[in-house]
Symmetry: C2
Subunit: 221 residues, 2 copies
């Protein structure tokens, strides 16, 4: 395995910090990124990921996944009926929450990495502040790395540098890595608006992290 | 977790045998099936899966996965370029081989099962006769089950009843389970033709298994 590294880049604060972590650790020439177009509510995330990668001078590939939208739909058990590729729920928005979504992201990232002789993957998952998402836990990452190593006969390493960081610590890491300017290009708001709404749970978490770190969020400038 | 069971049904000989294994073990009312539309070379597989499920009186859902075609394509590293959803290789056929494909199939199946309170998944993977496919090995299945259990906080069990069976033993199991009539509806041939070509590696393996078991393949009648 080489020292090449692939960052799973969502266009958010955490994965952007991880991108700079990877650049710092492996060197800019070794880093590439992948972003999943999985039917997320806000297409702006894909654009943010591209802008962040461009800004950091790192290649970015977008991979489609149409399965989440189909899974997020309804209990389709009628024989032979094809699941719709996009399903709306009561809110009129596509319902794309799927349990274990990070398992899928990382396995596809591993397949992409395997084909390019990339030995390391970096993900922004964190078990702090994220109760209720069991696919972000350290045990999950360890078991998944085993499954990928067996299943692909590879020596792939999954890095989750933010695993035990609070949002405050993530902001401090971004500061250390000179990643703050890129934060102006990231997207966090659940309502998909720019400037961010400032009141959704995702915005609140981000605001709290920057405040506790004593750093001004460049997104709000 | 309930005693409901989901069979990953490809429309081939092995997964069809597993469907009958599941019916025999869990009871017909507990069994459903899922088939992945992942850009396989031969669409006939999807039709065969549907026919097998209908014949066995088991519900069948088809889930799309457009990522393999994108991954199977080429080394797309240009920033911001979207990977095409279907790529042709030198043979003029979509190149959809992806390392660790069964990891993806089973993780999506697990998500589908989770949403429906299904506690068991059955897959037709076998480590016998299948050298070169590390995602079919027992160690891979064990590690993947761990990753899914951690990642989804579930008690899901992955069953691979054919894991250590030769093709001969698989035919004998099908005979025991009264699954032979359904074999007439399955698809094996790499060339995608019916009647099967009889000379591709997949046909040769199937023919050998039936011959060694001393059973006439209903597909050839």
């Amino acid at each position: 395995m080489t020292d090449k590294v692939l960052v799973v880049l969502s266009g958010g604060q955490d994965s952007t910090t991880c991108l700079y972590w990877a650049i710092n650790r492996f060197g800019i020439g070794s880093v590439s990124s992948v972003t999943f177009d999985y039917g997320q509510r806000h297409r702006i995330e894909l654009e943010c990921a591209r802008q962040v990668a461009d800004f950091a001078n790192v290649p970015n590939a977008i991979l489609p996944i149409d399965t989440f939208a189909a899974l997020g739909g309804n209990a389709l058990t009628d024989s032979g009926i094809e699941v719709a590729s996009s399903v709306e729920d009561d809110t009129g928005l596509p319902n794309t929450f799927v349990p274990g979504r990070n398992l899928i992201f990382l396995t596809f990232a591993a397949a992409y990495a395997y084909q390019r002789d990339i030995g390391h993957i970096v993900t922004g998952v964190a078990q702090t502040d994220y109760s209720g998402y069991p696919d972000c836990r350290e045990e999950t990452m360890t078991a998944l790395q085993s499954a990928i190593r067996f299943g692909m006969e590879s020596e792939l390493t999954i890095h989750a540098p933010l695993m035990n960081f609070s949002k405050k610590q993530t902001v401090e890491l971004a500061l250390d890595l000179a990643a703050l300017p890129a934060m102006a290009l990231t997207h966090t708001c659940y309502n998909g608006v720019r400037p961010p709404c400032g009141s959704c749970p995702a915005c609140e978490l981000r605001i709290k992290g920057f405040r506790e770190a004593g750093v001004v969020d460049p997104l709000t400038l």
